[in-house]
């Protein structure tokens, strides 16, 4: 029934989106293109370039671009060799009236994303406020948890997903979707109530949809606009008229207070709802059907990783570099330039070349993330879970002052969940903890695997990670979800050894009354072992501090 899943229609919509963007790049903001590199994406980009025509700029943004490249300013190399200031135009101003293609948008640095967003809002860039009215094409190659920065994506009208389009379709024009006939009294009201029905919070979505509808200027333009702009942003499915069956027991209150009630005035027509629903990308639809987006999913992958070279912290020497991307170390620069002065024959003036410039090397205190891996199975008992939650909260409150972070993985039933991605937000932590259900088997191996993944992610981001496992060690569910104590135990030990190989400091808190599994696991993990039949957040806090 997901007619939009048909590649021909997806492709037709992708082409329609690019034609609209070419008409008004700045007004519509741009397009997030989720697709791996390949012929389909190339074909789409080629078509966009054609639609823009040769006279309008079409720029590709180099990854890791700095401020001077984006906003313009002094051209250091040219200035130093010429001995007088030479400026150059930044990418944003150079793309005025056209489109900027951003490859690997999921890795975009937060600073760069913020500058792009500001230029989209104001239409200007650079110190002189040059006109920079461009559209953005974010090429998002993210997997699973990675995505283009939310703050930026929110400002762009379209999102397309080309992964399901085979190359042969990309040679065609696709097959246009037939819009349902609607009596379109008021497009504004219709788009707003649709946005509300699909749980889209940002007011930018209906505003962008309205601009698209005006640009289309066809019959039923509002329906097409809703399909193109609103469907890919859906955060929930509109309630079907008859309630099917009782909601599953672990369904949580996800809607912010006040959003659930009174969505009464003028419900959108069913045909329109269906048209939009049918246009929800299959991947997103599966997620929504599976119980809705978790807020954390929707927000994952915010703006790339922290910068590898710190711009703050305590100075620990210097290195060659551009002083506008760090802090000039004047003495070191002079020292580097001094031996060459005679050769360079400066006319009474110090001759400094680009290679002489030195910037300060800084070292920042590295953040530590404590990854809790909590046994939420039936054997660990619900009461334990509540105590574990208390311990996590207490540690979080402490981490909050020290600016450290906390993450929480819970395992129960057949698998493990990342309940709380690394955060120092109390708000988010509380919500994650409050909704944590308990009961079921003990898939210890899956839990440890998940904790390892999180910890390695933290480490990739330049932080330290420590793992705290709270369990009774009685694994009885294997990685594939099958029961069986023997295999589950073997796999758990295997997972524990993987943690040791990664060299992660770890602590195992044995919550079982009779020791056994947990102790052996702690040995396999080379972890500290703490037998604690009664959970006590103070004792855990002290033990965590000891391994950190």
């Amino acid at each position: 029934m997901t007619t939009a899943g048909e590649p021909e229609r997806i492709w037709a919509d992708a082409l329609l989106a690019l034609r609209l963007l070419a008409q008004d790049p700045h007004g519509l903001g741009g397009i997030v293109v989720r697709a791996g590199p390949g012929p389909v994406r190339d074909a789409w980009i080629e078509r966009l370039r054609d639609a823009l025509g040769p006279e309008r700029p079409f720029r590709r943004m180099p990854p890791g671009i700095g401020d001077e490249g984006l906003l313009g300013g002094l051209d250091l190399a040219a200035t130093l060799s010429a001995g007088r200031p030479v400026t150059r135009t930044g990418l944003l101003a150079a793309a005025d009236g056209g489109v900027i293609v951003v490859p690997m948008a999921e890795r975009l640095e937060p600073g760069t994303a913020a500058r792009l967003a500001a230029a989209l809002d104001t239409g200007r860039a650079g110190p002189e406020g040059a006109s920079a009215r461009f559209g953005l094409v974010l090429l998002d190659e993210g997997r699973d948890d990675e995505a283009a920065p939310v703050a930026l994506a929110d400002r762009l009208a379209f999102r397309i997903d080309l992964d399901s389009v085979p190359p042969r379709v990309a040679l065609t024009e696709g097959r246009a979707v037939e819009e349902p006939e609607v009596e379109e009294a008021d497009p504004v009201a219709m788009l707003c109530s649709l946005a509300s029905a699909f749980g889209i919070a940002s007011p930018r979505a209906p505003i962008l949809a309205l601009r698209v509808a005006r640009a289309l200027a066809t019959d039923n333009a509002a329906v097409t606009a809703a399909r193109l702009v609103l469907a890919p942003r859906a955060e929930r499915l509109p309630e079907p008229p008859p309630p099917p069956e009782a909601p599953p027991e672990n369904e949580r209150e996800e809607t912010p207070p006040g959003q659930g009630e009174e969505r009464e005035p003028a419900p959108p027509e069913d045909v329109v709802l269906d048209a939009v629903r049918a246009a929800i990308p299959p991947r997103l639809l599966d997620l929504l059907l599976a119980g809705g987006l978790r807020r954390s999913d929707a927000r994952a992958g915010r703006g790339g990783r922290p910068e590898a070279v710190s711009r703050t912290g305590r100075p620990v020497g210097h290195r060659p570099g551009d002083p506008r991307r760090g802090r000039l170390d004047l003495l070191a620069t002079l020292r580097a330039a001094a031996p060459w002065q005679r050769l360079r024959q400066g006319e009474g003036r110090l001759a400094i070349r680009r290679d002489d410039l030195r910037i300060r090397k800084l070292r920042r205190r590295v953040e530590t993330t404590t990854v809790f891996c909590v046994d939420a199975s039936g054997s660990a008992a619900l009461e334990r879970l509540a105590e574990a939650k208390g311990a996590v909260e207490a540690l979080l409150a402490e981490a909050y002052v020290r600016r450290d972070r906390v993450a929480l993985v819970a395992f129960r039933g057949t698998g493990a969940d990342l309940v709380l991605p690394p955060t120092r937000s109390l708000t988010r932590a509380k919500r994650g903890l409050a909704g944590l259900p308990g009961g079921g088997g003990t898939p210890l191996a899956s839990g440890l695997d998940a904790a390892l993944t999180v910890a390695l992610g933290v480490r990739r981001g330049g932080g330290n990670a420590v793992v705290v496992v709270l369990t009774d060690g009685r694994a009885n569910v294997a990685r594939d979800g099958a029961g069986g104590r023997a295999r589950a135990g073997d796999e758990a030990l295997q997972a524990a050894r993987a943690l040791r190989q990664a060299g992660l400091p770890a602590l195992v808190v044995d919550t079982g009354a009779r020791g056994g599994g947990a102790k052996a696991m702690a040995e396999a993990m080379a972890a500290r072992y703490l037998a604690l039949p009664r959970l006590d957040s103070g004792a855990i806090g002290a033990a965590v501090k000891a391994i950190r």
Binding site: C192, R204, R311, A397
Partner: protein, 336 residues
């Protein structure tokens, strides 16, 4: 395109009230706006700045000095020479995420250092924001040391530069407006406390308001000039209200009873230090001035208390109730 008119902003009453108070008395110490994306935070600040009467500034002064103020504070005006006045719009300066300290504070002017071999100061964002607004989106993601620095300058009104062999001070009085989403990380409590007012904005949840928001935006985009003209009268009324309030502010009195109520409120909430009381008094006075009242009453206190106090409560990670609820509970107790 003229900026969106302030009077055409739909809803967000608390944020608008906080911004007006900061415009009347910049010394209240910054406004923190926490909430969802796309709720018009940046639009509201730009709109307010555009609505304010243009200021008199010394022509060519990078720090927007007031010709009436003493010249010795500013490195540009202190050099002497004619101080010609010029009308300038009230500046709104954006501080982008990932800005370096150099860009914010100002630094050695590389262009002149390399080109002419002159040691000169290149003013940073703080200089440009003097007498205007400094807007920081996602202030919660800003590096801590930068936030420290900003709050320090905002409180003292002077930016002291000691770096790269430069040593100078220049005036930097601005209203600091920070915005952010608490889901993405929080500010340290020490920093939170230093913002004068904190408000929460949320996406409107009822469809009627959402429709009104989209309609206003659409009308503005289709014909900005006509839209602004239609709201010019209301905008003018707000400007007059701000100007009148600024004049009245020094004369607004705070009766002892109001002081006592403020102290009792802060005591009931257990806020640390005296900053809570001081801000509560300052903001209540500005609010009274805006209302055209001569004295601060309980009503003013009650209306401003949530914004003035909600970010000063001691955090209790195990207390589930939000800070707004706690302030309201205390208000009900004290004003019973």
């Amino acid at each position: 395109m003229p900026p969106f008119p302030f009077s055409a902003i739909v809803g967000q009453d608390e944020m608008r009230q906080a911004l007006l108070i900061a415009a009347v008395d910049p010394a209240v110490g910054g406004v923190l706006v926490f909430g969802d994306r796309g709720t018009g935070k940046s639009t509201a600040i730009r709109a307010l700045a555009a609505l304010l009467p243009p200021m008199n500034a010394v022509a060519g002064c990078p720090y927007n000095c007031d010709p009436a103020s003493p010249a010795d504070l500013c490195p540009h005006c202190a050099e002497g020479g004619p101080r010609k006045a010029q009308k300038k719009p009230v500046p709104v300066v954006d501080l982008p995420l990932g800005a370096t300290e150099d860009r914010v504070v100002g630094t050695l002017d590389l262009e002149r250092a390399l080109g002419a071999g002159v040691k000169a100061f290149e003013p940073g964002l703080l200089a440009r924001a003097n007498r205007g607004f400094l807007y920081i989106d996602e202030v919660n993601l800003l590096e801590d040391h930068l936030v420290d620095l900003l709050l320090d300058v905002a409180a003292s009104g002077v930016n002291t530069v000691e770096r790269e062999g430069l040593s100078l001070r220049h005036p930097a009085r601005f209203v600091l407006v920070g915005s952010g989403n608490p889901e993405e990380g929080e500010l340290r409590p020490q920093l939170l406390d230093r913002f004068g007012l904190a408000c929460e904005v949320a996406t409107p949840t009822d469809i009627a308001t959402r429709i009104a928001v989209v309609r206003a935006r659409d009308a503005y985009e289709r014909d900005p000039d006509a839209f602004c003209a239609a709201h010019a009268k209301e905008d003018t009324a707000i400007r007059k209200r701000i100007e009148a309030a600024r004049k009245r502010l020094p004369a607004v009195t705070v009766p002892d009873a109001a002081l006592e109520q403020a102290a009792r409120l802060c005591l009931a909430l257990g806020t640390d230090g005296l900053r809570g009381e001081l801000t509560l008094m300052r903001t209540a006075r500005a609010l009274a001035a805006l209302d055209g009242a001569g004295t601060v009453t309980d009503d003013h206190l009650r209306r401003i208390a949530p914004a003035a106090l909600r970010h000063r409560l001691r955090r209790n990670p195990l207390d589930e109730s939000g800070s707004t609820v706690r302030v309201e509970r205390a208000l009900a107790e004290v004003f019973a």
